[in-house]
Amino acid sequence: MDVFLQQVINGLSLGGIYALIALGYTMVYGIIELINFAHGDVYTFGTFTSLAILTGLGISGEVHGPLLIGVVALTVVAAMLTCGALGVLIELLAYRRLRNAPRLAPLITAIGVSFILENVMQLWHGPSPIPFPQVIPNPSASFGGVEISAKQVLVIALAVVMMVALQLFIYRTKIGKAMRATAQDREAAQLMGIDVNTTIMVTFLVGSALAGAAGFVSGVYYGTTWFFNGFEAGLKAFTAAVLGGIGNILGAMLGGFSIGLIEAIATQYIPQGAQWSNVVVFSVLVLVLIFRPAGLLGESLPEKV
């Protein structure tokens, strides 16, 4: 039982990282139906930016007290702003011109952007894993043999907080309303006086900023990163978004946590589980899509005419 609960905690904290990335995937898909393959790399870029900021501040180990809050806030905000700006730039340079092109064109472009980012980051820090300073002290609490560390709490909490904030942003603000309108029917929204370009830009800004925050958290959580980190994480996050119902904010989080849990549990209870966990994850995905083609929380929308 202890081991099971421990694996649940492992799964939830892994799922938290997937969920944070999946939020950005699902937002972009929801609004322009583009699978933004570069999103995983924007997330890695967030880790790299955070690393650069921490290095710039001369921080290489644990920080305590008020300084900790200051450092973390500064790093997270800077990483979010940088990644947000990067997202906007990508949209501006690579996707905007292709908005009315056949759907395959922006998809391939997204893969191209992903390659560019990976190679830029490889140039930046080289091809090897790079250590990330352990800024946050990591005490762990034990509940009858089950251990939960501060970092795990941070990851899970951040995913939930971000999800709630995003939900509020989309359903309670004017720009959120514009986003929903654009998602429903871009032309109609334009006719109603909504600036579609700005709305899409904001979507990329927010989605990429979330990836930036996730990048910082992953750096702190794993204590290391490398230029190719976003590939696998992006793939899993995309799967999470599809599992939960792509375009659905709550679904992205549910999908992320589910995939993290499935991975951890499969690793524990299947012989050679570490190798088979991906098989289990994708089998579950296939099963869910057979019975609920729009994902766990997705609504099947009538085909747009």
Binding site: V3, Q6, G11, P127, I130, N138, Y222, G273, A274, Q275
Partner: protein, 419 residues
């Protein structure tokens, strides 16, 4: 698919970077071989081809290796060759644009083959280069001894058979270093010596890593240890907490890792601390013997051990005289493979001398030299009393174990492998 290639290149890069970090000053060595080349003008001249990476990033290990070979030749000449026999070092660089290059290696070997006075050769340094060269020396019947290539497939099994294209029944490729697969056995021997009895094995599912882990498992069990689990990592994954939680529940006193730093080594070690396994011994092969492992695993790297498929020459009693002579001659520290190159060259010198006597004092054929090299056994050398088995591998594999304390690797002990 793309990623496999990338990781392979990465590992070579890291290996080279680490090796180059190990050697220091390498001045005044570059002109040595040209000097020896002009000395021998008359009489019987036998050339020994030396193919190593001598420029660019690989030069840091390539040049001390070459110097070991040249030292053997100089000593033989100083001792007065049998029947007026003079040896000449004929060295060629297989590095192109700063990195070892299989095509250039093959070209160099063709140059050796075309020169009738070349009766044997030493090299190459890298397994990929050897792969390109073995078919050529096999075709020419030119004895080739490598000081440093550790890929098992070069001498063993179906892969090796494929390289012996012209004469499948003749083996012309030998090596005085041991192979990667024996690291697993050495690791098991060392782990048992540390008193470890319950091992949990993790590998990265690649040729090198899985091979290492499988050999470790077999040897560890033979030696009376228990293997409580053997899991494989998935490419690209970087969260091993679930895997390590599973391991912890099984209560191992050792985690053996078959793989490289990049395919999961440093993350695994780091996350061991996060999952309550920080005090459990971590053991791996030379895939984690790099600075990257120390850097990215940080403090958690302490308490890890790894094996390297070469002896630590400075600690080997049999190598003391060689180390002295080398430092006197080159005024620079011995490289990790200098003693191996010295030994390889010496085996060839002795073979050429014997073949010359057998041939009535005239230069022997390459085939005659090759036959004697192949029969080498009980040969006293700085790296122990060596011989070759039917595959061309050394019968006296010596490996080293290093342990990490205070963020720095320290030599722990030499493992003389039982075969």
């Amino acid at each position: 698919m793309i990623r496999t290639g990338r990781i392979a290149r990465l590992t070579t890069f890291i290996a080279v970077a680490v090796l180059s970090a190990c050697t220091g000053d390498k001045s005044d060595t570059a002109t040595s071989s040209q000097a020896t080349a002009t000395e021998a003008a008359s009489g019987l001249v036998a050339k020994i081809g030396i193919d190593l990476p001598l420029s660019g990033g690989d030069a840091a290990t390539g040049i001390p290796t070459r110097d070991g070979a040249v030292l053997a030749i100089e000593e033989a000449n100083a001792a007065g060759g049998t029947g007026g026999l003079k040896f000449v070092a004929y060295d060629l660089d297989d590095a192109v644009q700063g990195a070892h290059d299989p095509a250039q290696g093959a070209q160099n070997v063709k140059t050796f083959v075309a020169d009738e006075a070349v009766l044997a050769m030493v090299g190459p340094f890298n397994s990929s280069v050897a792969q390109a060269e073995i078919p050529i020396t096999n075709d020419a019947g030119l004895a080739q001894i490598s000081p440093a290539t550790t890929n098992p497939g070069l001498t063993k099994g179906a892969q090796a058979a494929k390289l012996r294209t012209s004469h499948p029944d003749v083996n012309a490729f030998f090596r005085v270093c041991t192979t990667d697969d024996r690291q697993g056995a050495a690791g098991a021997q060392f782990a048992r010596k540390l008193g470890k009895s319950k091992a949990f094995i993790v590998d990265d599912d690649e040729t090198y890593g899985k091979g290492l882990a499988d050999v470790f498992e077999a040897q560890f069990k033979t030696d009376g240890g228990a293997v409580v689990g053997h899991e494989h990592l998935t490419k690209g994954q970087n969260d091993y907490k679930a895997l390590l939680t599973k391991a912890r529940a099984l209560g191992p006193d050792l985690i053996f890792y078959g793989g490289t730093t990049v395919t999961g080594g440093s993350l695994l070690r780091k996350q061991m601390s996060d999952t309550g396994l920080g005090k459990v011994t971590f053991l791996g092969g030379d895939g984690i013997s790099d600075d990257e492992f120390l850097k990215s695993a940080g403090d958690s790297a302490n308490g890890s051990y790894y094996t390297v498929a070469a002896p630590e020459t400075s600690k080997l009693p049999s190598a003391a005289a060689f180390v002295d002579a080398y430092q006197k001659r080159w005024k620079s520290p011995v490289g990790p493979y200098s003693a191996n190159a010295y030994t390889a060259t010496k085996v060839e010198i002795v073979a050429i001398e014997r073949a010359t006597i057998a041939n009535g004092g005239k230069l022997p054929s390459r085939d005659a030299v090759l036959k004697i090299v192949a029969q080498t056994t009980g040969f006293k050398s700085p790296i122990g009393t060596i011989g070759f088995d039917q595959n061309g591998d050394t019968t006296a594999p010596i490996l080293s174990v290093y342990g990490i304390t205070n963020g720095k690797p320290k030599f722990v002990e030499q493992i003389f492998l039982r075969i």
